[in-house]
Subunit: 306 residues, 2 copies
């Protein structure tokens, strides 16, 4: 991949503002620190930043403080409303940024909001990219994330070395919002896989089969998927630790469904998955991993799992 | 894998009856011929058997004739009604079979029918196995099918060398009907993947993305699946040749849904997939491959594809 940062081509250290230090943001910010950049971190819960501060990051009292004098500002928060607040709200990042700097939002958020931010940023001479990621906390720790970029292609190339510090696959997808739309495609695919996986394993057990043995028959062919390989064993073990949180997936599926409607699409599989995950969340599954969907499938059939 | 037939452990040639010579049955019967067995073929359309007859197979005028004096009778036909007819109907195979012989049905069919056949067979001293396969026409030609076996485990081990002549993964799944149930699990998984894949690609195009570029971002992570890797490129190219026929998948999903109901399960994702595929079939897609589901997704949104 072009633009990889190696010892031989060490990049000029940049001043980076980083907003958010959750399960994804912390390791991502850590990689940027490790690459030699100066990092100012802001996060809602200061305690979450302690590890980064110990490693040499500076504390920013607000998104605006973290963004002041930064060459590049990264955002990795939870929900679109959080993005709106830390970027456009009181003491938000954008107002503190200088012309020629770049704002990059890693949060999975709304494509419409991404386009709005890009437009408001452009009025200040700031370039904004939407750059949601897939690969989860493991990908964040290993810097193997897939980063889907929307915004100016030239700016994308300029910041590619930074993006390749936290991810292994960086693909420019189109104008502002296109990164978010691409992430929605990813989530629609997963929604289908997870629905099928939950119903298939429930069927297997109800039919009296040994689900582990079933996986020997179905795991290597046309039914194969990342979900089947990685999540089915955890489902069978009744281990519903996240992985990826149900409450975040409900958010993502809601964004996808809103945008599908806006685009004139009828996507009944996506709508069903959103309803199932919403019900799962409302029945106590908000902080489980997405593979807990089988609990909802079982509940609807009057069964328990495992 | 145990019981593999190699040159060093050439099996005793058996007399085999084979009923069905379609896109799956022909290459499967061919492998049995190649392994040195004597094969009597019967199929509804005699012309389809010409290649096998040229290679040394004998013609059986009816299922009963093909089954007479056979050590093992294989069935690979289209629908459960076909299975019922060629096994239990007039001039059906079962009445012609001798005690101690084995009937193996490769057709994807109803688990209830499989259990009925096993019971009727047992009354004659015949062992019946349900042994549906996955892997498609390519797996049939390459003898790499996954074979999911229901019935007596001892009989399964006895015929394992024969099964490994046509498949590479042979797993005993439980009593009669369990092979069929396992295949239903496989099809429920695929139903979810295909629904997600169709809706995701339709979303990608409607959002103005370049779907091929989107695949670079989403193909390697949690959204990955056999369907995404193998079928998305064909969907994007508008190539809907089967692969696996829509009309057969509608059959399979109907069997799965009937059995889910019988087992007290509510599987809304499966029900949705059955409805979508039924509508696709009824709108001219019966002889397309299952990846043509995107035509149904597009139609529902008032769009065409590609």
């Amino acid at each position: 991949m072009s633009g990889e940062t190696t010892a031989a081509t060490k990049p000029t250290p940049l001043r980076i503002g980083f907003i958010g230090a959750g399960v994804m943001g912390s390791p991502m910010a850590g990689h940027l620190l490790d690459a030699g950049h100066e990092l100012v971190i802001h996060t809602r819960t200061e305690a979450r930043a302690h590890d980064l501060l110990d490693r040499g990051a500076y504390w920013g009292e607000s998104p605006a403080v973290a963004a002041e004098e930064a060459d590049v500002v990264f955002v990795m928060v939870g929900f679109p409303d959080d993005v709106r607040q830390v970027v456009l709200g009181n003491d938000g990042a954008l107002d503190a940024m200088s012309p020629g700097t770049v704002l990059i939002d890693f949060t999975t958020s709304d494509p419409i909001l991404a386009a709005q931010i890009a437009e408001l940023a452009a009025e200040r001479g700031v370039a904004a990219l939407d750059a949601p990621v897939s690969g989860g906390d493991i990908g964040a720790r290993r810097a193997t994330l897939s980063i889907m970029v929307g915004g100016d292609p030239g700016v994308t190339e300029r910041v590619r070395p930074l993006l390749e510090t936290v991810g292994s696959t960086v693909v420019w997808q189109g104008p502002a919002g296109s990164g978010q739309h691409t992430k929605m495609v990813n989530q629609i695919l997963i929604a289908g896989s997870m629905t099928g996986l939950s119903e298939a394993l429930l069927y297997a057990r109800a039919a009296g089969l040994d689900p582990s043995r079933v996986l020997e028959s179905v795991g290597g062919g046309a039914a194969a998927s990342w979900s089947l390989t990685n999540l089915a064993p955890r489902i069978l073990a009744g281990d519903f630790d996240p992985g990826f949180l149900v409450e975040h997936f409900v958010k993502d599926l809601g964004i996808a469904l809103d945008n599908a409607g806006r685009l004139g699409l009828e996507l009944p599989g996506l709508a069903l998955a959103r309803d199932l995950y919403t019900s799962l969340r409302d029945h106590g599954g908000a902080r489980d991993g997405t593979h807990a969907l089988i609990l909802e499938s079982a509940r609807r059939s009057g069964l328990s799992w495992p």
